[in-house]
């Protein structure tokens, strides 16, 4: 893809790695917020190539991982109801709820469909006026604008059989929550480039200032990530804590004004539970009053479902960067991508899945061949 291959160039990666090695005079712990960055780091072996002084801590930015169990159970309940077409992005289908996943619901006769855009779900609603079509609206600021646009269109077109099961979460409150944790080891952040493509960079200076932590907006290709790390290390070494944009080809300071306006119209900020972490105040979006009629939770009355997490899963600590995936006793044993205890193992962006899929050789033998 034009402008993509250039950002995987091994020679340039070698140059950046050398600069990082030269710059880092002591140990630094840097968190990449986004699960897409985690997978890029592990898949390309960037963590193996960095000097030992640089530790990458994997953050909570996997939308599938942080979707709370209760919300998954609500999705399973709605998808099981007769007359419902339940639409989702692909990687939500294998995420375990309390007792099963959406694949199981599908095998039991539920009409569960993978779509590539929420607008596809809206088209399904138009084509099936006698069915209720529900779209599972999860994710960060990245996926939210398209979901907002879909609800806006549904209202404009007067479509009555479409609704959104909303579980959107926001990055800046999560960064604040991580920094407030007494166990926090994070000294700098690589901010998620695609989130900033929508929201811009103006939310970050107050965080960098308050917690005295460098924030470098970073893309997803190997060179993007290495450049983000290089800039972060330079700031850390010089004692600075500023917001830098290392992804200018996609991110403007003001973000995408049209998308932001759509978000403001359709959603309002709310407290939100994060799987494995708990409730973070004002860390998510729900439908605003004007669009509440499209709220699937209300339409299907699934507010009171009781849920139960695995007692041995430590995905919460993984999501907060407190432990590495293989430091969980269940990793690779009771917990594998086939039989995941937590969403970090099943999601394509989850840190546990990344370690299981790509890095088993480097782990202790008992987990490598589990």
């Amino acid at each position: 893809m034009k402008y993509l291959d250039e950002f995987s160039n091994p020679q340039l990666a070698g140059v950046l790695l050398e600069r990082i090695r030269e710059s880092a005079t002591r140990r630094w712990a840097i968190m990449e917020v986004c699960g897409g960055q985690t997978h890029s780091i592990i898949r390309h072996g960037i963590d193996q190539l960095l000097p030992e002084t640089i530790e990458m801590i994997h953050g909570p930015g996997c939308p599938v991982c942080v979707t709370p169990l209760g919300m998954i159970d609500k999705a399973l309940d709605i998808a099981s109801q007769p007359g419902v077409i339940f639409c989702s992005f692909g990687d939500m289908l294998r995420v375990p709820g309390s007792s099963k996943d959406l694949f199981r619901v599908k095998s039991e006769g539920g009409d569960v469909r993978v779509v590539y855009s929420p607008l596809d779900a809206l088209e399904l609603a138009q084509a099936n006026p006698d069915r209720q079509v529900v779209f599972f609206g999860i994710g960060f600021e990245t996926t939210a604008p398209a979901n907002a646009m879909t609800v806006y269109q549904a209202k404009r077109l007067g479509i009555k059989n479409f609704s959104l099961l909303v579980s959107h979460v926001l990055v800046p409150p999560a960064i604040a929550a991580i920094m407030e944790s007494p166990d926090c080891r994070v000294q700098a952040f690589l901010a998620a480039g695609h989130v900033c493509t929508v929201m811009g960079t103006r939310e970050y200076p107050p965080l960098a200032e308050k917690y005295e932590v460098p924030v470098v907006v970073t893309g997803f290709e190997p060179l993007d990530i290495l450049e983000g790390i290089r800039r972060t290390v330079i700031q850390l070494e010089s004692g600075r804590h500023e917001v830098e944009n290392a992804y200018p080809r996609a991110v403007a300071e003001a973000g995408n004004p049209v998308a932001k306006q759509m978000l403001e119209d359709v959603f309002e900020v709310t407290d939100r539970a994060w799987r494995g972490i708990g409730v973070i105040p004002r860390s998510g979006w729900r439908l605003s009053d004007r669009y509440r009629e499209f709220d699937a939770e209300q339409r299907f009355a699934v507010g009171d479902l009781q849920t139960a997490e695995s007692s041995i899963c430590r995905s919460g600590e993984v999501l907060q960067g407190l432990i590495k995936p293989h430091e969980c006793a269940a990793f690779g044993k009771q917990c594998t991508p086939r039989n995941p205890l937590g969403a970090t193992m099943v999601s394509s962006e989850g840190a546990c899945a990344a370690y299981y899929l790509y890095r088993r050789l480097d782990l202790p033998a008992e987990v490598a061949h589990a």
Partner: protein, 356 residues
């Protein structure tokens, strides 16, 4: 006496190597060609068949009849949509079984064709598929010698399902099977990977990538014959269909208890496949192919085999992508473009496009 298996299946007792208890009903992943497909065969079909099952049921069986060795294979085709850029379920039904035979080193002779048709399907559609089968069979040099047709009630099928079964002859001295992979073998793939899976996906989901990706469906026995004609010692051949290259390599590594070390940069992946997979969050190594083979060849013969492949129309883009190693037996490991390493695992079920 065989154990009575007519009662309910006790999923809780399936403990080796990975239980199926997480799925007491068939889910789509059981047909994905990955770990779940293998477990279904290993834990359900083989025990249920009992003594009637031949150990090591593979894609093609080798039967000894008098002094001849025959390859025998069957496959069913349920692709949706039935017509896609570069082919249809008709070509797949012929080429798929021809290729299963070819992967045992056999010269395909004859195929059976069995149709399960759904009530209400247009005859014109079936005629189009049947014509494609005839053309493909002629092109592959096989005859369609017997068949069957069944019709199911409307709503109880997906218009057209096709089964083909094939038989072929294996020449003397040819011994191609996964167990023969050994350390030092050069791993060769016959050309660009990921074409079929992306072609079908783009059509099924209405995705447009700027260019039309066509399926690579093709009969591979001619290419195999060219490889055998070099006199090289071909240890293993496999067509990486469902589950892609990753699934095939993992199966071979596990069967032969050897490691496979790939060089990611050496994988032939067309730019449009990389782009489409990047967009959808898929890994080309897990995407299906219908006209490619992967070969494990003794190191001293690798150059000769590669040269022969390059001279054949279906092997012009053949490439050595790695070697067989004694380390990490049963695992496939890739050297990344940047110089790191990563495990290339067997897919569990089907690949899922990611959220963002």
């Amino acid at each position: 006496m065989r154990e009575d298996v007519s009662g309910p299946v006790d999923l809780a007792n399936w403990v080796c190597p990975m239980p199926l208890r997480d799925s007491p009903t068939i889910v789509m992943g059981h047909g994905g060609g990955g770990a779940m497909s293998g477990e279904l065969v290993e834990h359900l079909f083989v025990p249920a068949f009992g003594a009637a099952a031949e150990a090591g049921m593979g894609d093609a069986a080798v039967l000894t009849v008098g002094s001849s060795r025959l390859a025998f294979s069957t496959d069913s085709f349920v692709v949706k949509p039935m017509v896609f850029p570069g082919g249809s379920i008709g070509e797949l039904a012929i080429n798929g079984t021809v290729n299963d035979l070819a992967m045992a080193g056999a010269r395909p002779l004859a195929l059976s064709t069995a149709f399960i048709l759904e009530e209400g399907t247009a005859l014109a559609e079936i005629a189009q598929i049947a014509a494609a089968m005839g053309t493909a069979a002629l092109g592959a040099g096989v005859t369609l010698v017997t068949g069957d047709t069944k019709v199911v009630d409307a709503g109880h099928g997906d218009r057209v399902y096709i089964n083909t079964t094939g038989i072929g002859v294996i020449d003397e001295g040819v011994d191609i099977r996964p167990q023969r992979a050994s350390a030092g073998d050069v791993v060769i793939v016959s050309g660009d990977i990921g074409l079929h899976g992306v072609a079908v996906l783009s059509c099924r989901e209405g995705l447009e990538f700027g260019t039309t990706v066509c399926s690579d469906t093709a009969p591979l026995h001619g290419l195999v014959a060219a490889m055998l004609a070099t006199g090289a010692d071909l240890h293993v051949l496999r067509d990486p269909t469902r589950g892609g290259l990753a699934a095939s390599l993992n199966e071979i590594a596990r069967t032969a208890k050897v490691g496979v070390a790939l060089v990611e940069n050496d994988l032939p992946i067309p730019a449009e496949i990389r782009d489409a997979c990047g967009l959808l969050g898929l890994d080309p190594m897990y995407v299906a192919n219908e006209g490619k083979l992967v070969a494990f060849v003794a190191p001293e013969d690798a150059d000769r085999v590669l040269a022969a492949m390059h001279s054949h129309p279906l092997g012009t883009r053949a490439a050595a992508i790695g070697v067989c190693v004694p380390e990490h037996p049963g695992m496939v490991v890739a050297k990344t473009a940047l110089g790191g390493t990563r495990v290339v695992d067997l897919p569990a079920g089907e690949q899922l496009p990611r959220i963002c």
